[in-house]
């Protein structure tokens, strides 16, 4: 790692950028856009977020608050847990633990920094990771392993059996930083009684582990607050997703990433609910005016990403789709599977969860069910075409949102999906949905540049007659 990178703490730098960006709209729009002239390196990403108005501002304020909580956790006597993204952070609040949601923090870095997180990604390789280890961790984790951020107290992982490169990264971190480690396991099936029982017991094991680390008991009143707030968020999210079924979709494409960011970083908190409620207002307004969620208000095509979005390159993928009047209808990261989700068709209800605040046991079971259905944990735990997994979920999203095309971006590091994408694409093509596979890393633009990916998407849209 270059010397100058060792001079500053990564998480502090990300928080500073987000903090000042979140203040931009406290003045007049003229002042805000005047200020952007002085932030050429962050301008594109921040403008793309703030262009959405109140939801963008609330999102940035929410992320800022979250990052401050991480940075000040130890001062406030709280423990810090290093977590996977597909981990409902709500459970940690009643345990008095602050999570570092590793992938979302990597995402913030790659979205905001013009040069990406190459130095931190490389650092992981310098100390023992392989170059094909998951880049979603290597970004922020490189900084934490180099001591350029707060020091976590323990590690919680929810990707074993789901993604080996992800899970081993957390294992590596625990070993390297000499931290206690707990990993939730994902059996290959989801809805059978044995798996459900396993998940609920496993989750109780996680709570006991965290209680041991903090010396505090789970606060049941706080847990109830989290459950009630999570339920509210799920209802709003389902309403937004229901609006996405309209043609044109009134939901701005970038709202999908706002939605899952809010869930991953602050699921179960009031701040996340506010962000979602604000998005819902915008979407409803667009719907009442018959406008698409794109800047032009028109929709020429509808896109669905069967895996993750592409986060590097300052949010350009979203701006580009928007400039082409393409409604982005979300990706696998949006598939949380609450019971009211529009894609949870009758025959798939078994794969959903509910938030039940009746008593401590039902609340813990609710969170355990939610954790076992988090994006990726649900879809890629076993064979791609098993019930309630990747193929079935993708088909459900296609039937619900009726996209004109599907996209996949991934690399060898995304082993569980990279290994099956060609057969999944064959199946979606059979359904009549043109499907594009791109070799590209969502967190590392050095693998395939956005420009090169954009050319490929453009070519695909032309050749398949999707955009005339």
């Amino acid at each position: 790692m270059r010397k100058e990178y060792r001079e500053y703490h990564f998480d502090r730098m990300v928080q500073s950028i987000i903090h000042f960006a979140s203040l931009a709209y406290d003045g007049t729009p003229k002042e805000a856009f005047g200020m952007f002239r002085y932030a050429p390196r962050f301008r594109e990403a921040i403008e793309t977020i703030l262009k959405t108005g109140e939801p963008g501002v609330l999102l940035l304020k929410m992320i800022d608050k979250y990052l401050i909580e991480v940075l000040t956790a130890h001062e406030r006597g709280k423990k810090i847990a290093l977590c996977t993204f597909n981990f409902s952070p709500g459970v940690l609040k009643p345990l008095d633990v602050v999570p570092i949601c590793l992938e979302p923090v990597t995402t913030l870095g790659v979205m905001m920094w013009l040069r990406g997180l190459g130095e931190y990604l490389n650092y992981c390789c310098e100390i023992g990771f392989t170059e094909t280890s998951c880049s979603a961790q290597r970004g922020a984790l490189g900084a934490y392993l180099a001591g350029l951020g707060v020091k976590p107290d323990f590690v919680l992982c929810n990707s074993i059996g789901v993604c080996d490169t992800n899970a081993t990264a957390f294992n590596f971190a625990a070993e390297y930083l000499d931290l206690p480690f707990y990993q939730l396991n994902a059996p290959p099936l989801l809805t059978d009684e044995r798996s459900q029982k396993y998940h609920r017991q496993d989750f109780r094991g996680l709570i006991s582990f965290a209680e041991e680390q903090t010396g505090k008991k789970l606060d049941v009143d706080l847990l109830r607050e989290v459950i009630i707030e999570t339920d509210k968020q799920d209802m709003i999210m389902c309403e937004i997703e229901d609006l996405m079924r309209l043609v044109p979709s009134p939901v701005p494409g970038i709202f999908n990433v706002f939605m899952y960011s809010a869930k991953y970083i602050y699921g179960g908190s009031k701040e996340a609910t506010d962000v979602m409620a604000s998005m819902l207002e915008v979407a409803k307004r667009n719907a009442s005016e018959g406008r698409a969620g794109t800047t032009s208000g028109k929709e020429d095509a509808r896109a669905f990403a069967v895996y993750v979005d592409h986060y590097s390159a300052q949010l350009r993928p979203w701006s580009w789709l928007d400039s082409k009047n393409i409604s982005h209808l979300g990706c696998m990261m949006n598939g949380f599977w609450p019971v009211h989700a529009p894609y949870a068709e009758e025959n798939l209800k078994e794969g959903t969860y509910i938030m039940d605040s009746t008593n401590e046991d039902t609340m813990i079971d609710s969170l355990a069910d939610q954790m076992s259905r988090m994006p990726m944990v649900k879809q890629i735990r076993g064979p791609y075409d098993d019930p309630h997994q990747w193929l079935s979920d993708t088909m459900a999203s296609i039937r619900t949102y009726k996209p004109d095309f599907c996209m996949y971006t991934g690399t060898i590091g995304c082993r569980n999906t990279w290994g099956a994408i060609k057969i999944l694409a064959r199946d979606t093509e059979k359904m009549g949905i043109p499907t594009l596979i791109i070799f590209g890393d969502a967190f590392d633009h050095r693998i395939t540049s956005w420009e090169s990916m954009r050319d490929k998407i453009d070519e695909f849209l032309t050749v398949r007659g999707i955009l005339k």
Binding site: I438, F439, K456, E459, F460, T462, V463
Partner: protein
């Protein structure tokens, strides 16, 4: 009605001039760092060949990586579409095009009406592109043509294990040092190249009516191995350099668009 097609690729720029749907001339030059400069130079060369000037051209379509930066064009069309159109114009009925350019390799499938229905390109690295052959030819001190023809004289064709261009060089140097004949090494190089391309073509499903275009189509060694691996005889573009198919397709599209505009 004179129209032009201009294809500014990563290594070479190509231009084709058509008059009433018949080819008048074409030109190929090495690309420079500026696409607009490459486009201008190659067009000038093709026009000179046909004793014409820029003013004579009624419509120009550009394609290739640099297509959006060319100031004098009427339209820009994707490479896949141009290659498909060019190949179909020269070889009616063709259903699959394997195009191996300087820095990419594509397989394109057409339906019975000549519409592009599917395509795939190489990713991850430059193995399986013209660049691989250039590097190897330079290493052996051969021209690209010799690299193709010499492999037919191989007595004990060997195998290159490395897919990576740089590591394949190391392997070739090792074989040179061991006294392996140049012919056997060229056979290994062409075979390695053909294997990479065959994998890309097979991923789309090979059609019987397939053709090969791009600069590498001139390498008989690669083409022969590829035919063996795919189990089909590959058509080669008649009467024209296989490198200019993209530019030709662009010119055909220019002609068709001008005709359509006239009808409107």
């Amino acid at each position: 009605m004179i129209v032009a097609g201009c294809d500014v690729g990563s290594l070479t720029a190509k231009a084709v001039i058509l008059n009433e749907g018949k080819m008048l001339s074409y030109a190929i030059i090495r690309s420079t760092a500026r696409p607009e400069e490459s486009a201008h130079s190659v067009m000038e060369k093709a026009l000179e060949e046909a004793c014409l000037s820029f003013d004579d051209i009624r419509y120009t379509v550009a394609t290739g990586y640099g297509r959006d930066n060319i100031p004098f064009i009427n339209d820009a069309v994707s490479e896949i579409s141009c290659h498909g159109r060019g190949a179909l114009w020269l070889m009616p009925g063709v259903q699959m095009i394997i195009d191996i350019g300087g820095q990419d390799c594509k397989a394109i499938k057409l339906d019975k009406d000549g519409r592009v229905v599917k395509f795939t390109t190489n990713d991850k690295c430059a193995a399986g592109t013209g660049r691989f052959l250039e590097v190897m030819a330079k290493l052996l001190g051969l021209s690209l043509e010799e690299l193709g023809t010499l492999s037919a004289q191989a007595r004990n064709p060997m195998d290159l294990a490395a897919a990576c261009t740089v590591w394949a060089q190391t392997e070739v140097i090792h074989h040179l040092n061991n006294g392996t004949s140049i012919e056997d090494i060229t056979a290994a190089i062409n075979q390695a190249m053909a294997k990479r391309v065959a994998m890309i073509a097979n991923s789309l499903g090979v059609e019987r009516n397939a053709c090969i275009t791009g600069g590498v189509a001139k390498n008989v060694g690669v083409v022969n191995y590829l035919e063996k691996l795919l189990g089909v005889k590959l058509k080669k573009p008649p009467r024209v350099d296989p490198q200019v198919i993209g530019a030709l397709g662009a010119a055909v599209l220019a002609y068709e668009r001008l005709e359509r505009n006239k009808e409107c």
